[in-house]
Symmetry: C4
Subunit: 382 residues, 4 copies
């Protein structure tokens, strides 16, 4: 590992809260106590009225599974196909910006925990650690691409991702602009000094630190740096240019999924961006079945937004996903206890998923895919 800020700022001892955490919500509580209010709000909040944020949880809670019994138990550690890589859990760490805001080691801690847990880590375009420092940790790094106005920078990032060993390129397609996150605006949110998108040029990276009354500096930066004109043609050209499998993140509509499959993407992430972008959006998990039917197996499906329990992972898989992305929970772990906190988050999900599989009679991934779900209040008594 190359020297970095984290190397000189020693991780604090793991707080008791992490050691005692029994579920991801416990890590959220610990993170809330550990973080400045505005950083907590940035991590936890959604856009607008936060109705999409709340809707993601409500949708999972409504879904109930009909478990099987006597079906044999999982043997040994899990082995999941996650967009062509073998993972120990059917999940990857979602791309999330500026992780040094939450912990001095930032992405290095998160990626380190992911590598140790055997799951992919997605390096954000807005990573606050260098791509090469993260990939040097091993594991399965993926690179997430925002479509920047500076097209040279885009190509440079893709090149660096390829060169440093990233195994997939995940293009986020649901941020033509940043959703209005009212908490951040009320907080005059800006990045703390010393945290920036180190993989961009300093001029491009500087914006999010310029605190301004009545505005989110991060959102303003997005407006100026991102190119909202990203098109299907751009993606087709990108696909020609790179040898990495392409993952499109932020697809909810079956027609878009169909077109993406035609384009030859390796996977889609069915996502409403954790309720941070379009506040009127359908819950990701409610959108999944139609996307699955449209794609009909031509590419893999990942699901994110609202996954908080092993049973959520199980439900997503039962509806056609081959895995999920974990966002906020990883950051909660990071804030609460650095790499050990992230490890705890992944370990809790692992434990919960194993439990959910064992208790629903799913000995292997194919059994999970066949699991029957019902939607809470809407089935009839006979």
């Amino acid at each position: 590992m190359t020297p970095d800020a984290a190397a000189v700022t020693p991780s604090p001892p793991v707080p008791d809260a992490v050691g005692r955490a029994l579920r991801l919500d416990d890590l959220a509580d610990a993170a809330r106590r550990a973080l400045p209010r505005d950083v907590w709000d940035f991590v936890s909040g959604g856009s607008g009225t936060e109705s999409a944020l709340a809707g993601n949880r409500a949708a999972f809670d409504r879904l109930r599974a009909v478990p099987r019994v006597l079906a044999g138990q999982p043997e040994g550690p899990g082995a999941w196909d996650l967009v062509g890589v073998r993972a120990r859990l059917p999940l990857a760490i979602a791309p999330m910006a500026y992780q040094r805001m939450l912990h001095p080691r930032g992405e290095l801690a998160t990626a380190g925990a992911a590598a140790a847990a055997g799951v992919p880590f997605t390096i954000s375009t807005l990573s606050s650690q260098r791509i090469e420092d993260i990939t040097a940790l091993g594991g399965t790094p993926w690179f997430q691409l925002y479509w920047l106005r500076d097209r040279g920078l885009v190509h440079d990032l893709v090149q660096r991702a390829e060169d440093s060993g990233c195994r997939a390129l995940m293009v986020t397609v649901d941020v033509p602009r940043m959703g209005r996150r009212l908490r951040d605006i009320r907080n005059d949110f800006a990045l703390p000094v010393g945290v920036s998108a180190v993989n961009l040029s300093p001029e491009v990276a500087r914006g999010p630190q310029d605190r301004r009354a009545g505005a989110s500096a991060v959102a303003d930066h997005t407006s100026s740096a991102f190119d909202p004109t990203l098109s299907w043609d751009d993606l087709a050209r990108l696909r020609e240019r790179t040898r990495l499998p392409l993952i499109l993140k932020g697809v909810l509509h079956p027609d878009d999924a169909d077109r993406a499959a035609d384009l030859g993407v390796a996977a889609l992430v069915v996502s409403n961006h954790g309720g941070r972008q379009f506040d009127g959006a359908v819950a990701s998990v409610d959108a999944l079945p139609a996307v699955r039917d449209a794609v009909a197996g031509r590419c893999a499906l990942l699901l994110d937004s609202g996954v908080r329990h092993g049973t959520d992972v199980l439900k997503a898989l039962a509806l056609g996903a081959s895995g999920v992305l974990i966002g906020r929970p990883a950051l909660w772990g990071l804030a609460a206890g650095g790499q050990e906190g992230v490890r705890t988050a992944l370990s809790l999900l692992d434990e919960e998923l194993r439990e959910a599989m064992a208790l629903s009679g799913c000995a292997d991934p194919s059994a999970v895919r066949r699991l029957r779900l019902v939607n809470g209040p809407c089935h009839t008594p006979d």
Copy 2:
């Protein structure tokens, strides 16, 4: 602009609350603090148990949209066809009575903000500013007609609306009598001195100021002044008499919509009067699809009742409306900050709608109309 009360009562400096408002609810909070309780209640309340009022919001919240991606972004300012006029937003200010109750400049402030924002302003029959003073502000004035017992007055109002340049005539058809608004009755509500329906004859206009225990003077006035016998034949004759496009406000039933379309109206406002009339009514937005199907394009559809967010506008358009009417939010802005407050309300909606379109992948109005919606808790998992 002709001299008026507002000209001699200077607008108060824009309160901070308006400048800091991030959504319409912030303006509601500011208005609640600025207004006497009984005026706030008059503006905010509904009829009966206020179940229609609450139902309007619940219906919008249940509806979720399935956004598109990579569909191109809106270019430049919006251009919407709103009943034959080009508007910068797919909305108009709803007709609302007695606006000088909320601010000395009343309708002049609201209409001024509307004109500046490029959206129609509907002058109420019960306007507390003169028709001609409002139309002198320019913009796109519409005139709203209550069917008064004094038929001469009706014809006089229509004539004045035509002569002063109103661009449409909106006849309200859901007030054969005023809904029982219990808050107003409990408050012994009457108009403040100096506020009246200045476009009516003084004798007709006087009633709403006569405070009486256990009664709403405004409701009593409606009973005595409005003619509950308004019929389809009356509307047919009115249509012959005026050269203005006719808009019917307050239609929820598809058979009424069908008949209105046959009559040759330019547009319908699908509305339950913001929950202020029939307390048992279906939510406007829940009634919209059947009305759209019945009309089948023969006239335009507007939607009001409960629109509070840009995503609500988007949902209404996706279900077949070509625009919405904004009621209480404009009054909140007016109470909180006069014309600047109304401007803020419109500006917030503009910003939210642009955001909603951008994030749902709608580059133009036709894309919004094709947006797919689902109804929250009632779809099945596969």
Copy 3:
């Protein structure tokens, strides 16, 4: 009118609360303050977990109507056919026991208000005033019959009902035993001294005053006095024996409704006894459509349980009822203000129903029957 307790105990002056009441809930509040806690609980409570009680309201609230416009307005006072009698409102007072518990004049006050309002009053088998004293007030008295073990008493009551001018015989069929009303049991509920079922023999009538720890004396009395074996054959014989039209109260199942129609009853009351009997019962209004379809016009349908607003009356009529029974609200009025209180309850419903009809575009009863309803959260957006 014969001398009675009420004649010597003058009614208290009408409390302000009655005069200021704007809806039935206001009368409930006044009654709660006026009554001893155990009497309030007896009147307000339901059986078991009170889930049927709550379900009745939830069902009405979910139903929403699609109003018509420009349909003409009601002319003059209402004229409704209520099981062969012309009523000024589509409602009757439900049979309710022991009304002198709530006010010294008891049933005389309630029946007097009903007669004045032009609606039927149902004399309970457990009336605390004499049948003949009530019928002497005029109006449209109906007699409600509980099937007593003392069959001679049954025939005697029917004879007295006929002789004194009752216009219909309503047989309650949903009390083979009394539902367990936990509030009453916790309160060791018994009738106050001086209140009893004066139309029964003293021996039969005495039981409900015997307060006993851990029991409801009223419920115990029901067990000993009522005959749970009432059968279709008994009803057939009763129908032969009496010249009065027969109304069956407490039918929820379409097959029972069908059989009752075959038997030649004049009407059914679709009712779950206001949530006081079978705690697992479907809401009355949710049961109505299937009953209507089964009966197919062969007899009239009344609806009770949960009617609290004019819009509820409208909804029941739109689903096929020709009227409703009003229970607790009449007692609230009685407790709060004697006959004037009941008059207020009826007057509020009258006003609310007129408003609901006017605002939903229903000029007459046949228009109400054609009104379209939707069930709140379960329709689809397109």
Copy 4:
């Protein structure tokens, strides 16, 4: 009865709370006050987020029955066929471990009350009283079998169950591992000294008393003692080996029900283990109709999880169960008042079921089976 700990620790006098209990929830309140917090949590809690636990109640509450009238009343005490035995109530006591934790006499008190009430009692593999001491009480004992790693112990238990007169063998199939019950883990839960699974060998039984920080000793014991590989073949062999009727407990999926019926089981318990195992599970009562259809009468169906009222029993029977298992409510009674408390629990259910049958017009079990149910918020108005 053989001497046992309970014989030397006299039962406390029956607390008033038991004598005054009007429904099972009253016993829960009394138990909560009587028990140490960690024991209460062990009894009351569920796994994970306790969503399955809550879902069981919500499902029952949504279901509403359409009662019949004039159908004749039940005669004399009930006579129900419960998996080949005649019971006085359509219920049995569910298998529950370690009942001496709740009362010194433990299973002897519970089983004694069951015998007196004429309903089966299921002896848990983890019983804290000896099988033979329980069966000596008479009544209808059933034996519940967990599939232990020590197969000799399994065969020994089956043999003892047969020899001591157990009338059925109930194999629990939904505990391949114990669900993570977070309350127990937070409480460092372990069995009190003196309470253990006395029917297992001391070495096997010892584990649950070893309190360990951050763990449930009971759960850890399950992991080490239970064999998660239990298969259909094991069950087939078990069925060959024993002459007792076989009941499978924990089936929710119709395909599993079908296979079990093919195997020749006498009955299935449709159960999600009271929300203590798979937190993502469908409510038991929501799963029942599909299981009933799959089984098509080839074996009996019992239902457990969430039964708290006589109306719940009625609903389960109406959906195809021939009886229910009662779990926590029996323990509440046991904790609150020993055998008398359990007797009270059964007596309340008896009273409530008789009431529910009488008030829904069900004179006998076959009428209950024909009862029509609707699912609360999801039927349409016409």
